[in-house]
């Protein structure tokens, strides 16, 4: 960290302390996942990758991983389609129903996940919709839509209105304008939003727990494993999820950064 000459030392000190106290614990499981465990205590003298070996040879975890990827992929596709449609609609004018739509899209993202999850659970029970990965996908889509929608809307709003007008002016239809002018200018926002949505879906736990049937996703699996006791592969799983999510966020940032024109 480079210290600006005007920053007082005490401020650097407090920031450093906060950083270690709050974020330090995140690194403990990562570090300990590379060491052997003896009678429930990490032996810092014995580095080993055995936790990871156990992890990949665990059938249940591999199934959970597959489920997670399926759910994430499907939620991304659904939220992108719905996100584009609603962002285009909201951006095309100003009215009460647009404001309402926007509010509703934001709601599940802002509410405690347990409320969103419970609401969905009750709803599925009411309409007698069997719980499965499909309900998980619906739950995740509802949850990540706000983020995808917002990202796309911001990009749309940053495009000059006259681009769309110029397209119509030159004789293009609504579909041609979308296909040739809007979509190409939205691609990087779509990729960025998609990756973020995937990252969110990847470690979503609360809603999944409530609306899933017998299928497990990785976080749910982790949850279940922890109830049986603290094992090295829990550390390894935490490390894997953390690493993957971080990677996705870095990728997303790359696509969502404003490009110099």
């Amino acid at each position: 960290m480079i210290r600006d000459s005007k920053t007082p030392y005490w401020l650097v000190g407090i920031t450093g302390l906060v950083f270690i106290l709050l974020y330090g614990p995140i690194f403990v499981p990562i570090a300990s996942s590379f060491f052997a465990l003896k009678q429930g205590v990490v032996d810092w003298q014995q580095p080993t990758a055995s936790a990871y070996v156990t992890l990949v040879s665990n059938e249940g975890i591999l199934v959970a991983l597959r489920n997670t990827l399926v759910v994430g992929g499907a939620a991304v596709v659904c939220s992108l389609i719905l996100g584009i449609a609603s962002a285009l609609y909201v951006n095309s004018g100003r009215s009460k129903d647009r404001a309402l739509l926007q509010f509703i899209i934001f709601l599940p993202f802002l509410m405690p996940p347990i409320i969103t999850g419970l609401a969905l659970l009750i709803y599925f029970r009411e309409i007698e919709f069997d719980r499965s990965l499909v309900t998980v996908i619906i739950g995740h889509t509802v949850f990540v839509l706000a983020l995808v929608y917002r990202t796309l809307l911001v990009r749309l709003q940053s495009l000059s209105r006259s681009l769309v007008e110029a397209s119509y002016d030159l004789g293009a239809s609504g579909w041609q304008t979308f296909r040739y002018v809007l979509l190409p200018n939205l691609t990087s926002a779509m990729i960025g939003a998609g990756i973020l949505a995937f990252a969110l879906s990847f470690d979503e736990t609360m809603i999944t727990l409530l609306v899933t049937g017998t299928d497990n996703t990785l976080p749910i699996r982790l949850w279940a494993m922890m109830r049986l006791g603290f094992t090295p592969d829990i550390n390894a799983l935490v490390a894997v999820i953390l690493a993957f999510t971080t990677l996705l966020c870095l990728l997303a940032a790359r696509y969502l950064m404003p490009r110099e024109s």
């Binding site: 006259s162 007008e165 110029a166 397209s167 119509y168 002016d169 030159l170 004789g171």
Partner: protein
Amino acid sequence: MTTERLLLELKAVSKSFGQTEVLQRIDLAVRDGEFITILGPSGSGKTTILRMIGGFESPSSGEILLDGADISALPINKRPFNTVFQDYALFPHMTVAANVGYGLKVRGVKNAEIETRVGEALQLVALRDFAGRFPAQLSGGQRQRVALARAIICRPRLILLDEPLAALDVELRRQMQSFLKDIQREIKTTFLFVTHDQEEAIAMADRICVMNSGHIQQLGSAHEVYYRPASEFVARFFGDNNLVEGRLGPSSGDRRRIETPLGALVCAIDGQPHLAAAPEGAAAYAVFRPEALSLASTGSSEENRAHGLVTGLHFAGAHTLTSIRAGGHEPVNLRLRLPSKVEGVALRAGEAADLYWRPSECRLVLK
């Protein structure tokens, strides 16, 4: 190339946004093949007129006729007009060639034909070598020309230009003005050009439509609006004019007198019957241009004259604008434009000066 045939007519067109009426019963007829300019200060409604013609806004009342037929219900993409936007609105992800060819592509024109016509259009705006570039790799003037090529390639009946030169620096502006004018002559298409710069309007237009706060103040040739303003607003809008307030006196033929603090002035009223009809004693202004004032008498008896003191000299390159306080107990400030010389102009600050100007260069506008 101007014919008397009308291409487009706005009839009693009004436009309101919510409670505010930004255009009030506009009547405007655009002739086929002319270069017509809408000139007015910011907020006067110029863009709104253009957007209604283009189909981006619809009139609150009134009708817009193309070749005599109402086009109010025609959507933007069906109107045979193309717009050059103020911010160019070039598609950032397409090359220059793709931008220019866009209008043909969406109409389903064959690729081979698009290619030749894009080549021709780029040739016309002298950008052949730039076909493969992206808009971000072009200068302001080049972007402007791409926008123009993109508009003319569809062979529209009318090209709408909304302050297309506003973002360019002075030198480039001049070049683009004559460039646009040349192109317009070459492709023989009607241009409707919006600007708030009077010099630009005068330099380019066959006819100028002067607007102020939602009204058309005057529509006429550049010469007409410059030398024969129809209202106080127009008289003041074309910079530095002298306006001297007074009361109308008797008229005789093409001349009408006005009593002012400078004494009785004789003004020309030919071609403006409403001035002949105005009652005696009505409040009006005598209007004369700073370059119409001369320091030497021609000896004619009809000549207007004023005597005053020089209060200031403002060197402005080719000419020097001189302020003169004239008249008796109700002094009037007059502006006089003299050609600059290396040794200075004939007057010094504080000197007395006699000014003369011909009745034909003195017009009237009602207050």
